[in-house]
Symmetry: C2
């Protein structure tokens, strides 16, 4: 696998995109994006498990039963959740407009939205925006897409890789947005992956499901699962490789690359969590079972106390041990080891269920870093899991509690 760069859509054959300002955001920033495949593509997706689902999610679940899709229209001004019948009507009308401009069936259009909950989309602005955006779609549109899907994100989140399958160069490229309301199941964010790989819909669904499970579903910014989360992967086959329709060697190569793309985007989302100053990586090793590894990792990365301690570079291992304790994972505390790690070094702070003498100052220096790894060894089996999150800061409170009358 070759990492091409941190740009979206770079050289993925027959994919085009665009991002514009349609006047949906008060700020005047870009707020409408489109991803378009010139050829029919198979798609696979995962959607929020929140019982309250945005209108576009309900529509997508229906449209994904279709064999092919060719476009995804995304607006970052209005979530279009809790908007009732009108919201669903609007979502359908948006798809019809896009289909008309691009000469597709409206079932071939998918839709994502993020932004304010409960406010109807201003349809006049949206319709004008759709006309405009469909006229400027281009192969160079990837970076505009990445900007236009941002809300409180401070950075764009993009990555492109290349693999060789069946002597053809196959590219996989992804773009995501995150920031707040970020917690797994499905992971409170939007991500879109395009690839020119030739793969069957069934195999694509299979690989996407497992990949999402170990990337977006293992991050937490604030524990809140949004009404609008989705990850959609489109594969249009333009690379010309022999169709991947079983779990063969090519499937494995594709899976590894897709996993890389999704994990990279997940980490970028965690690092750019609202107010975050650092990325927290929790590695749980040697668990009795997979569920225990996942539960322990997610519990630590979701703990407000751990997150606040890491903001202050406080080597407070007690809060970490406490968080695995209430994770509902199955382990023996008397076997547990904990190390703190970063590019500045590694220090052991807890061994076989007990406090050990360690130099607090050195430990604090090690975790006073942009990227901190908490290594939890359960010494109880051979399963592992990694979760990603960020610290809890004054800025998070400011961003989410700034409303003042």
């Amino acid at each position: 696998m070759k990492i091409i760069n941190n740009k979206f859509m770079q050289g993925v054959k027959k994919f085009k995109g665009a991002g514009i300002s349609a006047g949906l955001k008060k700020s005047g920033k870009k707020d409408l994006a489109i991803i378009y495949s010139e050829e029919k593509a198979v798609v696979a997706g995962t959607f929020t498990t929140n019982r309250v689902k945005a209108a576009c999610i309900l529509l997508d679940i229906e449209n994904m039963k279709n064999e092919n899709s060719q476009a995804i229209i995304i607006n970052s001004g209005h979530a279009n959740a809790c908007t009732g019948e009108q919201g669903l009507k609007d979502a359908k009308s948006i798809n019809e407009s896009v289909a008309k401009e691009l000469k597709l069936s409206s079932k071939e259009v998918l839709q994502a939205s993020t932004g304010v909950i409960g406010v109807a989309i201003p349809m006049d602005k949206m319709k004008n925006g759709i006309k405009k955006i469909c006229s400027v779609i281009s192969e160079e549109g990837g970076s505009d897409v990445s900007q236009a899907i941002m809300t409180t994100d401070t950075k764009t989140k993009e990555v492109t890789v290349e693999i060789n399958i069946d002597n053809k160069n196959v590219r996989i490229s992804g773009v995501a947005k995150g920031s707040g309301m970020i917690k797994p199941n499905m992971a409170t964010m939007l991500s879109f992956i395009v690839t020119d790989a030739n793969i069957s819909k069934k195999m694509l669904q299979k690989v996407v499901k497992s990949s999402v499970e170990n990337s977006y579903n293992m991050i937490s910014v604030d524990g809140d699962t949004s009404t609008n989360d989705m990850s959609i992967t489109m594969a249009n086959g333009a690379a010309g490789n022999k169709l991947i329709d079983s779990e063969n060697e090519e499937f494995k190569i594709f899976k590894e690359a897709l996993d890389y793309v999704n994990v990279e985007l997940a980490k970028k989302i965690a690092r750019d969590g609202e107010g975050a100053t650092k990325l927290i990586e929790v590695e749980v090793a040697n668990a009795k079972d997979k569920e225990t590894a996942r539960k322990c990792a997610m519990s630590v990365v979701s703990s407000n106390l751990v997150k606040a301690a890491l903001f202050g570079s406080d080597p407070n291992w007690g809060r970490i041990i406490c968080a695995i304790g209430y994770s509902q994972g199955d382990f023996d505390i008397n076997k547990v080891d904990l190390n703190f790690k970063s590019s500045l070094g590694e220090v052991s702070v807890f061994k076989k269920g007990k406090n050990i003498n360690f130099d607090e100052k050195i430990a604090s220096k090690i975790i006073n870093n942009e990227n901190v790894v908490l290594c939890i060894n359960l010494n109880d089996g051979h399963f592992k899991a990694t979760a990603w999150g960020c610290d809890l800061t004054y800025k998070y409170v400011e961003i989410n509690g700034e409303y003042r009358t």
Copy 2:
């Protein structure tokens, strides 16, 4: 039921207490407390569900198999969790010292602790402290107990009520500490209830279990379940009422009063959560089943986004609806209503699953109050639940992220 006052142990017959500084806290503040019944008492307790349990918890679970208990010794300097074999030895030795001073069997002594995790208790200071505290036990010691169990609490948490059972005045009095690492199951805090009611151990266990479920297990400050949580209730029968040994009328009167005491203490804990500026009460009504009501209430009160919004008095109903959405409760969003309420008024903000026009300024003013109630009506059955929490503030981040090298 008559509310006596917000003082612990007021006139509960044959109960005494004390609270002193034993030098366990660096600050020199009171850090050792004892609750003592002159007569043999039956006890019932609930303990943390955290897999990692402090030494005193392991010991108490054992000692509570005993028919009677007469003393609870509490230190607020050291959690004595993650301290291995030595921690358990120390806990046993503490019980033996107390038993010797008070001429009890060490099995009749219970123990609680809170404070730093992973640091051994300085046993010389502790032993001296035990001698000293046993010599100053008195009927007026209740308020010293309430002070000596505090950690980052800013206020003591005490309440005393009186009921009439069988023509006897029966008192129930409780004391608690909370602040951080506060999340149900069992609810991350310490609480001690003393009563002079005459009640069988079996009935006491029954009533305590259900009372804890609807009080401490329905609060959240930060979602972290501590290693040291416990609630212990002691009943010494000194009021002289006929023994309550079935679910009769007297049991019901006792239950109602005990529920009141536990809910009052739970609310005090939530209101005094680390950094909190307001108490948040989430009332879920007309749920299909009890579990749905509980899950929806706890999900909202635990949401960082809801907590941050309320800190800013932001009437952001979308975050509340989103939180019930991912609560895993069973409801139909199209039936849901939401009102904001406080002593300043009530406003409807969401009806039958949809945004309604409401005056944001008025709504914000209503929730700009020390005590905010979020009324969620699921219109889907007749079950209800209430949860309590607090807002998420800069101060919470400061308290928990203040470590600086």
